[in-house]
Amino acid sequence: MLAATLAISTLAAVFGLLLGYSAVRFRVESDPVVDQIDALLPQTQCGQCSYAGCRPYAEAIAAGEADINRCPPGGEATVLALADLLGRDPKPVEGETKPPSVAIIDEQVCIGCTLCIQACPVDAILGAAKQMHTVIESECTGCELCIEPCPVDCIYMVPIAPDISTWKWPFPAGETQSADREAVSS
């Protein structure tokens, strides 16, 4: 019994020392994975993922707290890219995906309260107090955060119309087999 305990505890002690040493020697400071995840997110900063923007969501994913399917603006493509990066199973996106849109301010109604400017996460709204505001269309990410604060409801989302340069070939219609892709389970 003595020999037993002695042998094993010596072994354990040796390994403990070794591991303690290597923990110090191979310390890792930061987590570059967050950057990689953040690079895949659409940066709409809309908060639909229930985090305060894209980067916090990226941090949550990296920490294993959040699922990868919580970003509706990114849609399926983002889920697939994240699944690929992290080696997880892709899942259907949670929440409704809308066509990409931009905000338009009805300049007749706008009272120049600047509330929307404070809400816009990417400074896409121009204007000063008491003056009419406008949205810089090319900068607007379509996050809809400016809609809520507007006291006179003068901000609308309009879908971006497709034009020839952004038109995409649609996904081809499937084979006979997949005509009805619904579950067998039911």
Binding site: W169, T176, Q177, A179, D180, V184
Partner: protein, 352 residues
């Protein structure tokens, strides 16, 4: 005026998968008839039974999966699967063996993966291996080929044997069955007999088993027809038979009394059928030209290795399954050089 739009190309010849599969079936006919000639009605009954079961199970699966039944059935792939499976069976195999085998082939190996085109493993061979492992007794009940057999079975007797397990009065399984030439070669070599002694057995013909060699020739004919109809390319059959013959040749040269000749190996068992009809199953085989050669060589070599040192006298099914397994990986590493690219590009993550 307004028109419907469709994607290019706007002209395509009228062809479909059913056509391809039908050609395979035509090519199978000569070999199948030869087999029936040597082994009796049982062969035809097996084929008919397996085809009916295969088509029936395919239809059942399609209904369960809520897929259109008729268009899919008309691709004839289930018929090919059933037929090829039946050709691997001994002539008087009980019906329930066929049922289990076809069931595994169609349901597990094919439809659980999504049906035609998606199965990574050759369905017929999955079915065959399943029954070979599960019912070894039934799967070794081979009859001697026609010129050697003392009893001949009429169609009714064959039906009785297959469906009721009844032999004509006075016969026992022990009396009518015999080992296949490959089996005999293996077990007798195991008893340290020399090839010359073994070849004295009446089962052997000119270079392989009596009857077997002719069956092989007829399948060869069908296979060549497939080549001409451009259903298959030369790569796989040539590589399979080449791999088998060269490996066999090497050992045979070293010790012709302990290792059977290449001709024996090529013309025995399912080697030719396998090379032209089974290894070439496009769905589960490799697709790149170089990949097909490697894939075929692998099958050829594995057939020899398992036949010679393993437990299974005719190793075609195992060799095919094993290389099916490797096909995606082979494809991955044998991508042809793309037009305008200098060295063949390897995927970055391929060999980290």
């Amino acid at each position: 005026m307004h028109f419907r739009t469709q994607t290019s190309p706007h002209m395509t010849p009228a062809h479909n998968v059913g056509q391809v599969m039908r050609r395979v079936l035509y090519a199978l006919v000569p070999g199948t008839l030869a087999m029936a000639w040597y082994f009796g009605w049982g062969v035809l009954i097996n084929v008919a039974l397996a085809v009916v079961l295969a088509v029936g199970l395919e239809a059942l699966m399609l209904v369960l999966r809520r897929r259109p039944v008729i268009p899919t059935l008309s691709d004839y792939s289930a018929v090919v699967t059933g037929w090829l499976f039946a050709l691997a069976l001994p002539p008087l195999t009980p019906w329930w063996v066929t049922l289990v085998g076809v069931g595994f082939a169609i349901v597990v190996a094919k439809h659980l993966y999504g049906g035609l085109g998606y199965n990574p493993f050759n369905p017929a061979m999955v079915g065959y291996v399943v029954v070979l492992l599960s019912f070894p007794r039934e799967m070794t009940l081979w009859l001697p080929p026609m010129p050697l057999s003392e009893v001949s079975f009429g169609p009714m007797q064959a039906l009785a044997a297959i469906f009721l397990g009844q032999l004509p009065p006075g016969l026992t399984w022990d009396a009518i069955t015999t080992a296949t030439p490959l089996d005999l070669m293996k077990t007798e070599l195991g008893r340290n007999l020399t090839i010359t002694e073994i070849r004295d057995n009446p089962l052997f013909g000119d270079f392989s088993g009596k009857g077997w060699e002719w069956i092989g020739n007829w399948f060869l004919l069908g296979g060549i027809a497939l080549l001409f109809m451009r259903v298959i390319t030369w790569h796989i059959p040539v590589a399979v038979l080449g791999g088998l013959a060269v490996t066999a040749g090497l050992f045979w040269i070293v010790d012709p009394d302990a290792y059977a000749s290449p001709a024996f190996h090529v013309f025995s068992g399912a080697a030719i059928l396998g090379a032209f009809f089974i290894a070439t199953d496009p769905v589960s085989a490799s697709t790149t030209p170089m990949g097909r050669i490697l894939y075929g060589l692998g099958i050829g070599v594995l057939i020899y290795v398992i036949r010679t040192w393993g437990n299974y006298p005719d190793a075609v099914a195992f060799a095919v399954l094993l290389m099916n397994m490797a096909a995606p990986t082979i494809d991955h590493y044998t991508r042809p050089r793309v037009f305008g690219q200098k060295p063949p590009r390897r995927e970055n993550g391929g060999t980290p």
